[in-house]
Symmetry: D2
Subunit: 309 residues, 4 copies
C-alpha cells in the first residue's frame, strides 16, 4: 500500500512545494486573491478508511470548478443520462475553460462538455428545486454526504465576490438562453452557481470525496452507495478527458488518473479502486491548475504507478 | 474469461451487424469506396494467446488513422517524449479530424495532438531514414512485429488513390512547413504517409496489435518487450482522449477503453491488462467511425465491464 | 435629375415588388412578425426639397439597425472620434451581425465596427445622460431634427418585445462588460437600445434623413448643419463598408452607395451630394436585408448611375 | 487643381517621410528585406496628362498585392462577373491577409474576396493561356498598357525568393483544390502568381495605372478604353472595402479613396474622376501597409478633400 507513512508523504510534499513559487493565486475573483500562494497540502484516503496527509491540512479552499463534477453526478442521478446529454455534449475541447467560440460554432449550440463553464452552468440549471435555497441545500448536502463531513459550509464572501464579477458567465448564460439550453432567470442561476463554487473544503474532504468516485460510488466506511456506479464512471471519464482545463491531455499522459481542479487551487483525484486524493495549493499555472499540486501528483503517479493507461 | 466461445461472440456480432446499414463506406478516397458496407468481423486476443473471433475475419482493410498510434509509438521510441511533444501537443479537440482552424489559432502553430491529421503528419515526418522506402520499411516492419504476422503488406492501389486526392493533407503540410513544424519535401512525406495508411490488416492482426498495447508493450507469446511500457501508456492515453475522432468523449463514456479507429472501418482496441480487440466494419457513421464496430464495442463493454473508469 | 415623375418611380417599384415573395418577414422578434411581407415603398429626396415617392408611403416601420448610424453620429458629436474609436473598431467583418466569435478573438476584445450589434451597443452606451429617458430623448430628438418630422415616436410594443427576447444582445453586453468596453447596468443599456431600435419612421422620413448625410450634415430646407461634415462622412463610410450586414461587399459592387438596412425592412440611402433615399419593405433575404428594397436600389443604381465607385 | 507644384508635394513628402522610421521592411520574403526603409516617393497623375512627383521616383518596387487588382480586372474582362464571383466572394473580412480560418468556415469554402491571398490565387487561376509563360505575358502586357510603360519587367530574383518560401500560399491552394475552387497544378499556379507579384514599377507607373481606374478604364492620353467601365468600378469597390488588408476600414474613414497596397511598400490610389496616385515606401506598419505612404495619403486627403464619402 502506497504512502504508508506520513513521513513519506511529507517528503513528497516538500519536493513539490518548491514549485509553488512558479505559480500565482487567481486574481480575477477578488476574494480568491487573498489566498497564501505558499500553501500546499495533500491527503490520501484508502478504501479501508486509512488516511494519510501532509501540509496545512486544515486550510480551507473553495471548490470552484471541482463542484462541476459533483453537480454533474447529481444531475445524472436526478434526470438521467439521456436528458443530461441532450443539453451538454461529451467532447473535450482544446479551448480555455471560459471560451465562447465553440459555443457559437457547435450545432445546435450546446456546450461541448460539462466541465467547461457553459456546460457546468447548463448542468447546474438542471438541479431541481423550488428556490435557489432549496437547490443549493441539495448540492451542499450531497457534498456533506460524499465527504462524510457535516460541518461543510460555503463562503458567502467568495460567492458574493464571484457573483458580482462573473460577467463572462452571464454572457454564456444569455447565449444559452437564446438557444434554449437554459430557461431560468440568469441571475438566479448565477446565484446558485457561485454558491456551489464557494463551498469550502480542505484536502481531507477532497480525498474523502475522491475515494467515493474511486470506489464507483460506494462510501468506504458505511459501504453505502452514494451514487450509482455508472454515474461515478461517467464523472471519472470527464475528469480524465476534460478535468484539468486545456491541460487535460497533458495531465492524462503525465499522471493518468481521473482528477478535477479548481481555480482556488484544489484538486480532487480518484484512482480507480485504489484511493482518493485531495490537494490544496492556491498558486496556479497559466492554465488555472495548482502548479505544485500537479507536480505532487506527477511524483505520486511515477512513484506508485497510478496511471490507468 | 469473457468470450469463451466463438458462439457467444457470433451472437454479439449478429446483434451489432444490423447497424451496418446505418452507416456508409468512406467515399472521399476512391479506392476505399469499393468496400462492402455489410462486412463486420471481430477478434479478441487474450494474454495467454487464446483468440476468439467472428465474422469475415480474413477480410483485409487498410489501417488508415489506426496507423497514427503505431507511428506515434515508433517516433517516441526513436526520438523520445521531449522531442515529439515539442512538435505536437497533448490536447484533445472538439474539431473534426481534418480541421485546419485550430492549427492556425493555436500557438506556436503546433498541431493540438498526434491523432488529428496535422499531428499525425508531423509524427510521420519524425520517422528517420534515408529514403521514403527505408522509413516505410521501418513502419511496416514494426506493424509485422506487433501483429506477429510476417505476411503484412500494403495496398499500392489505396496508397496511390489517397496520394492523388489528399490535397487537404498537402494544405496541412505546407501550413506546418511555413511554421517550421516540418521541413521535408511535402510530396515525399505524403508518399510515406499514404503508404503507412494503406497497410493492410484483418481483425486478427488488429487484435494482436491491441494486446501488445494492453500488456504495456509486451508480446504475449514471446514475452518480448516490443515497445517500452511508458510508450504504450502514452499511446493508450491518446487512444482514450482522441482515438475516435470528435466522438472520442462520447466513446469514453459509453465504452471506456483505449481504441483507435480508421476510415476504412477498422478499430484497434486495448483493454489494459486484459485483451486486445480488432474490428473491421467499413460502414461509417458521420464522424468517420465504424458504426457497427462501435455498437459491437458497446455491447462487449457493457457485457464484460470493460470500462477503465 | 432622376425620378422626375412619380410614374417613373412607380414603375420601378412595380418591377422590384415582385421580389417581395422571395423574402420573409423577420420573426425572431415577435412584434416584427406581424408586418405585411408584400409592402414596399420608396421615397427620394432632393437637395432642393423636391421629393418623389411610390408605394404605401405612410406605412411605418421601426428603425432597427438603421438607428446604429444615427447613434454613431450622435456619439461622434458628443465624445469625438478618438474616444469613440478607442471603444469600437473600424474594420468590416464577413461574419453575421450577431456573431460573438470575433469579439472574443480580437484584441483587446473591442467590437470590430459600430454596425455589428456589439459595436452598436458600445456606441449607445456612450450616449450621455442621467437616465435612460434623458438619453433616449436625446436620440429621438436627433431623429426628429434629421427627418424634420416632429411627430416621430417609438413603438413601445416592439421595444418591449425586443427587450424580452434579446438574450444574444445581453450576452454581447456582458462579454463587453467583462472586458471593460461598457460599464453600465446591462438591463438599462438594453432598455435604451431596444427603444432606439423601435423608433418608427416611414420611407419619407428615411429619405429626409438620407439627404442630410448626402449633403454632409446640412439640412436641405433650412441649410442648418445638423452634424459636422466629418461626422456625416464617417457615417457614410461605415454605411459602405458594413451597412448591409454580411452582404455589404456585394451591395457595394452591385449598387455602390452608402446605405444602412434594418430587420424591419427599412433602408436608408445617401447618394453623396445628390439625394437621400428611403425604402420600406419588410420581406427580408437570408442576410436580413429587404429583398425587394435591394432590387429596387439595384434598378435605380443602374438606371441613374448612382455608384460612387 | 491640387498639387500644382512639385514644391508643394515635396513639402508634404517631407512631412510624411519622418514616419518611415516607425515601420520596417517586409522580411518574410528574403528578397524584399533588402529594400531601403527610408525611401519614399509619390506621383500624382491628372486626367490632362500632367504629373507631379516627389522623392526617389525612379526607385522600383515589386507590385506584390497591388497585382491583385490588376488580375481581377483581367479575369473580369476574360470570364465575366458571374463566373468570377462564382469562385470568390464579395465580402470584406477583419482577418489578416493570409488567414485560412475563414476559408474553412465559409460555405462552400470559397474565398471571401479577391483581395485576400486565397481569393487572389483563385483569380490568377482564372487567367487563361496554354502555359505559365503565355498567361504571365498576358498579365505583364496588361500592366504595360495600363502604365503606358513598355519597359516594365519583373524581378526574377524576387519571384524565385517568393516561390521558394510561400508555403502558406501553397496551403491555401491545396485547400482550394480540395474544395474544387482551383484545379490546376499548384506549383504552376504559384509560379505564375509569384511572377505577377514580382512585376517591378515605380511610383510614376503606379500613378498612371491609378488614373486609368479613376477614369473608369480610360487611358488619359490616348482616350482608349483599357477596360470596361464596370470592371474599373468593381475593382475600385474592392480597393475601398478590402484594399488595405485588415486596416481597410480605418483607411476608408481616414482617407476615403480606392487604394491598394502591397508588402513591397507600394500603394496604388485612384481618386474617382480626379487623379491617380502612386506611392513607394518600403517601411511597413504591422498590418503590412507602407507606414509613411499612409501618412502621406492622409495629408493629401485632408488638404485636398479627397474622400469620396
Amino acid at each position: 500500500m502506497p504512502c504508508q507513512s506520513n513521513e513519506e508523504l511529507e517528503s513528497i510534499l516538500l519536493e513539490a512545494k518548491q514549485y509553488t513559487r512558479e505559480g500565482k493565486v487567481a486574481d480575477y475573483i477578488p476574494a480568491l486573491s487573498k489566498a497564501n500562494p505558499d500553501d500546499l497540502s495533500v491527503a490520501i484516503y484508502h478504501p479501508d478508511g486509512t488516511c494519510y496527509s501532509a501540509g496545512c491540512i486544515q486550510e480551507k479552499i473553495t471548490l470552484q470548478s471541482i463542484s462541476k463534477v459533483i453537480t454533474l453526478a447529481l444531475a445524472l442521478m436526478e434526470s438521467g443520462e439521456e436528458y443530461v446529454f441532450s443539453k451538454v455534449g461529451y467532447e473535450p475541447t482544446g479551448d480555455p475553460f471560459n471560451s465562447i467560440v465553440k459555443l457559437e460554432m457547435s450545432n445546435p449550440s450546446k456546450p461541448l462538455n460539462p466541465m467547461i463553464n457553459a456546460g457546468a452552468l447548463a448542468v447546474t440549471h438542471m438541479i431541481k428545486g423550488n428556490s435557489v435555497e432549496e437547490r443549493f441545500r441539495k448540492i451542499i448536502d450531497f457534498v456533506k454526504r460524499l465527504s462524510g463531513n457535516e460541518e461543510i459550509s460555503y463562503s458567502a464572501e467568495v460567492a458574493k465576490s464571484e457573483f458580482e464579477t462573473s460577467h463572462l458567465n452571464r454572457a454564456l448564460c444569455f447565449f444559452m438562453k437564446q438557444h434554449g439550453i437554459i430557461n431560468e432567470d440568469v441571475e438566479e442561476l448565477l446565484d446558485l452557481y457561485t454558491k456551489q463554487c464557494s463551498i469550502e473544503v480542505n484536502c481531507l474532504d477532497l480525498a474523502r470525496i475522491g475515494i467515493v468516485f474511486a470506489l464507483n460510488g460506494k462510501e468506504p466506511i458505511t459501504n453505502k452507495q452514494l451514487m450509482p456506479a455508472h454515474v461515478a464512471r461517467i464523472c471519472k471519464t470527464f475528469m480524465v478527458t476534460c478535468g484539468m482545463y486545456n491541460a487535460s491531455g497533458e495531465f492524462a499522459v503525465r499522471v493518468g488518473i481521473p482528477a478535477k481542479s479548481g481555480v482556488a487551487g484544489g484538486i480532487l483525484g480518484a484512482v480507480p479502486n485504489r484511493f482518493g486524493i485531495g490537494i490544496s495549493g492556491p498558486a496556479l499555472d497559466d492554465k488555472g491548475n495548482s502548479v505544485a499540486g500537479l507536480k505532487l501528483l506527477e511524483i505520486l503517479a511515477s512513484k506508485y504507478e497510478l496511471s490507468m493507461f
